[in-house]
Amino acid sequence: MDLDPVLLSRLQFAWVVGWHILLPAFTVGLASFIAMLEGVHAATQNPIFLRLSQFWLKIFAISFGMGVVTGIVMPFQFGTNWSRYSDAAGNVISPLLAYEGLTAFFLEAAFLGVLLFGRKLVPPAMHFVAALLVAAGTLFSSFWILATNSWMQTPTGHQVLDGRFFPESWMDIIFSPSFLYRLAHTVSAFYVTTAFVVLGVAAYTLRRGLFVAEGRVMLRLALWFLAIFVPLQMVLGDMHGLNTLKYQPAKLAAMEGLWDTGRGVPASIIGWPDMHAERNDAEIAIPKLGSLYLTHSWDGDVKGLKDFAPDERPPVPIVFSAFRIMVGIAVLMFAMVACGLLLLWRRRVDTTVWYLKLCQLAFPLGFIAVIAGWTTTEVGRQPWTIYGLLRTADSVSPSLTGFDVLLSLLLYVTVYLIMYPVGIAHMLRIVRAGPEPRDLEESIPVVSGRPQAPIRALPSIEGSTS
């Protein structure tokens, strides 16, 4: 069998970025959540919020650490596997990536140390500021990385000389047409993802009957937050979709599974696109609905896939299915939140066991939706790295053999399959232990220059050392 370095490099990038994105999807929201808990505690002195903050900080420490080490992998992928892309686009994308490091990574790293280990070393106000700055850092990071990604999706503000890209207007490069939509849709997705994890943990806590007060607070915070952000996210998604229709029509046609250009196009609910036959198998579609939500008119004109040369179409089945998974989850989330609000109104939300069970099961929904959305937009960009201008096949490092990439991919797979289950198991263990008040008493004797074990270790473990 011939090993294709392009395909293997794509698989490797998908593997490392797919696992990595789960962590920012969680930590961006969690950093803001912790900053809010710290802020409420500073304002009200209510110890529940301090206990909750300390509890989520332990989970944050693990996920953030994993996010850092898997994040360092990412910029090096551009060099190791995509050197022709780096050579072609380096002049345009590199300052954006470097600004991510300068504005976000250092900020997060310096103040995370203080946030985790410094509660007793700095004044409470400074500790709150550290929480705010870590949260700000995660948002700055999202800003720059999505600006880079958006430029690759909808490139503007550059000129091409000899196949290489040169900057003309930095404003146009950073604020490319899809950027603000993508930024809003992605950050909102990250917040919703985190809120569903909080909701799931709250439900688990309430069902066990331990730390009931904390569970009630978390459940309400999560539900009210989601009541605003789930509908908002659906609106933002629609706006982002319309932006895609305008600037990346081939991607949109793949998302819709639409082959023929026309007026009054149908909306395909389910089906399986066949790229050779150029049609959808086993399809259920609603006539005219596609035009309605894409153009906001019953017989609006929409471009189909057949308008694009076969070698300029993305892998349709993947984009089509991933998009449906994302939208399906959005609908499910909406129903769950509506249900939760109804129960809250009837004052039964803390005792309705089936609903708590459902919330508990639903904690990974956001992650699945994020991966599905990311797949939709990234696979939908194919066969281009820079949409319409540089092909993925022309971006890979010329020196690589298929064997090289297979070897590295296998190593990444092995290492991630060790790290992620262990990390997730540790986070679940913290959830099982719950927001114990003892954590705070223990952290009091820390004095200058004497940080304890990273966060508090489990007593049973530390007990054996002393």
């Binding site: 910029p75 596997n81 050197s83 600004y99 010329p398 009091i444 004497r450 940080p451």
Partner: protein, 336 residues
Amino acid sequence: MTPALDLIPIWTAILALGVFFYVALDGFDLGVGILYQFVPDREGRNLVMNSIAPIWDGNETWLVLGGLGLLAAFPLAFSIIIPAVYFPILFMLLGLIFRGVAFEFRYRDAEHRGFWDHAFCYGSAVATFAQGLVLGAFIQGFRVEGRHFAGSSFDWATPFCLVVGLALVCGYGLLGAGWLIIKTEGALQDWARRWGRRCLVGVVLGILIVSLWTPLIDPRIASRWFSWPNIALLAPVPIITAALVGYEWKSLSDRSEHAPYIVALVLFAMAYLGIAISLWPMIVPGHFTLQQAAASPSTQAFLLIGTLFLLPVILMYTGWSYWVFRGKVRADIGYH
């Protein structure tokens, strides 16, 4: 497209400074990881780990900045050098993953603590060795066609690169020992001094071998150092280095607490200077100069504006976070 002001020297300086900061900071915490397996008892191991737990993440950020700085300032160099060291970069990243997650995992997992202790230690050692391979490959040069690396993904597998890799392991070990001398006291500090001396022996051997071998690889480097009058002008470099080695040995052996780390850093700076003298003004040795590989003037200018503003701010708050965790780490004051 002639720029009003040539920014390339500024970017060369920023990148050189960034790499040096990386070596100075992540160098010591990788070094602490390398020495970790030799710490005699668990109490000591917890201390050693605690001495870097709040700061390692910020230190590692300089690596990202170094990589992205190279891409931003010299994109051509980035797209030739990084694929040429495909596997060393892979080993480095995987090593950094293992050591990075070990900070949290070893505290939360009593049953597998041994595994994560090893992950921390060998991860640090592998990452360091791989960085040495990258440095070695950089010095020995790359096969290039047009704007692309044209060699194989295993060109770095030479005895020369292996020696540089081992030398860097000793070098980071020395920095790690210097850091532990600052942060610990008593028996643990004596232990760090002993290991500091062992690492210093390795460093001296490494510097000697690399210094003699490099001119043999490349006649241009030989003529740079040994032609008249360069030989006289550059003579202070080896002389100062030798004096620093003597001073480092002395400060590792007497009671000085800060000197071992600082002198080790100056020693690194001298080795760095030696490599710069050998290769200047090439950024892809043998093929492209700094000038030829530089990014477009607009790219350099756009990033420079922010960098000149942000870098001092970063140094300030990073300094502050070190200040918060100043002083000796001790285990006897705690909650258990």
